[in-house]
Amino acid sequence: MNRQEAEELLPWYVAGALSAREAQAVEAFIDSGAISRSTLDEVRSYAAATAETGPDEPDYDPQILQRVLTRLDDVPQMAPEEPVVVVPERTAHQEGTGRGGWLGALVERLQWRLTPPLARALIAAQLLLVLGLAAALVLQAPSIDREYETVSATPAATQAGSYTLQFAPGTTEADLRRLLVDADATIVSGPSALGLYTIAFAPDADADAGAARLRGSSLVSYLQPLPPG
């Protein structure tokens, strides 16, 4: 603290409103003469005049209390604020354990250390159960190497007059063959993972009539022309 700072604090020194350390520092400047006695006396004069009630100041009426007390019942008290859970600051030791980063932040955010032990055990057990079920599902699932597709997906290369076709469940190979022969159509590709075939009508065949025939069959559940490409 320099002399100017000490002199700035002089009013609070006089008022007895400084910390012990600050008061000591200011006192040292007074004792050394760096802050003059007249400056100190001047501030003391201000303090004394301000602290006393002047003769022209109105008296305090203690009856104010009674008037306030009569109004108290008309003033409802506010509800307390929601309790704030104070998360203890991480200690230097904990800082050193390396549990910082996102995991540490997550643990603090979830207030894990403030969670009751029983609740912690239940949460951990639940998490383990979920992970176990997920692992079982993954291990038991049949391997699906085929790519994901939609019914409306367009095969890589199609010729004009090509259709996407799906047979109704339970259609036998013989039914399928008979149906395609009758419609003068051949399978270009398929079946896909969804059971879809790409079919094409013979170049000299009436594609519209063939398609109408297929649509009319109860063995065909889906038939849509493919855009040429």
Binding site: E8, L9, P11, W12, V14, A15, G16, A17, L18, S19, S38, T39, D41, E42, V43, R44, S45, Y46, A47, A48, A49, T50, A51, E52, T53, G54, E57, P58, Y60, D61, P62, I64, L65, R67, V68, L69, R71, L72, V75, P76, Q77, M78, A79, P80, E81
Partner: protein
């Protein structure tokens, strides 16, 4: 500091009881702070009737908000802060004449300072200082009052007034300078009388 630790503990305990609707605790707190609140208000707004109304309102606010007092500051700081806000609201509402920082009285020429300063008795000097105080801007007067009448630290004043601690110190510096000049104009030397030991 300005308050003994036991006073701080007593205040906190009273507020805790008031928060539960304890009227006797409220009465006890009122006996401690009622006059302080009134004095602060009356010096801020220079109107005893309105200062009484402000005192009423301040203490009712304390009653109402005690359950939400979190103890982040001292009870005295909290109550004086409420007092200041309500007093200033009262001033704004009634458009009372107050001196703003910009309207602060001009400082007299240095040449006139100390001219005719004479040794004075304590009462005369006190009266002169109070008269000079009333001519300070409200912001400057506020800092002086809170320091010397209420014994607030500069940190507490910063909290009550809502400004940085550095600003509190600056305001006090200018207040002292203006007081000195205003007193010199009246031929008063504040250092000439031993006011307090």
């Amino acid at each position: 500091m300005s308050e003994a630790v036991s006073d701080i503990d007593r205040d906190q305990a009273l507020i805790a009881r008031i928060a539960t609707g304890d009227k006797r605790a409220f009465e006890a707190l009122f006996r401690v702070y009622g006059e302080r609140v009134f004095r602060y208000a009356v010096r801020l707004i220079s109107d005893p009737t309105r200062a009484e109304e402000v005192t009423n309102d301040v203490m009712l606010e304390v009653w109402k908000n005690a359950p939400r007092f979190e103890g982040r500051s001292r009870v005295s700081t909290w109550i004086l802060g409420i007092t200041r806000n309500l007093a200033l609201n009262s001033i704004r509402r009634k458009a009372l004449d107050t001196v703003t920082v910009d309207d602060a009285p001009p400082i007299a020429d240095e040449s006139t300072e100390s001219a005719g300063a004479v040794a004075l008795d304590r009462a005369t000097l006190s009266q002169g200082i109070r008269a000079a105080l009333s001519q300070l801007s409200q912001d400057h007067r506020d800092v002086v009052e809170l320091t010397f009448f209420h014994g607030c630290s500069y940190e507490e004043i910063a909290e009550i007034v809502g400004c940085p601690e550095g600003t509190v110190k600056t305001r006090m510096f200018h207040a002292r300078k203006q007081l000195h000049t205003l007193l010199a104009r009246q031929g008063l030397d504040p250092a000439s009388v031993e006011m307090a030991s």
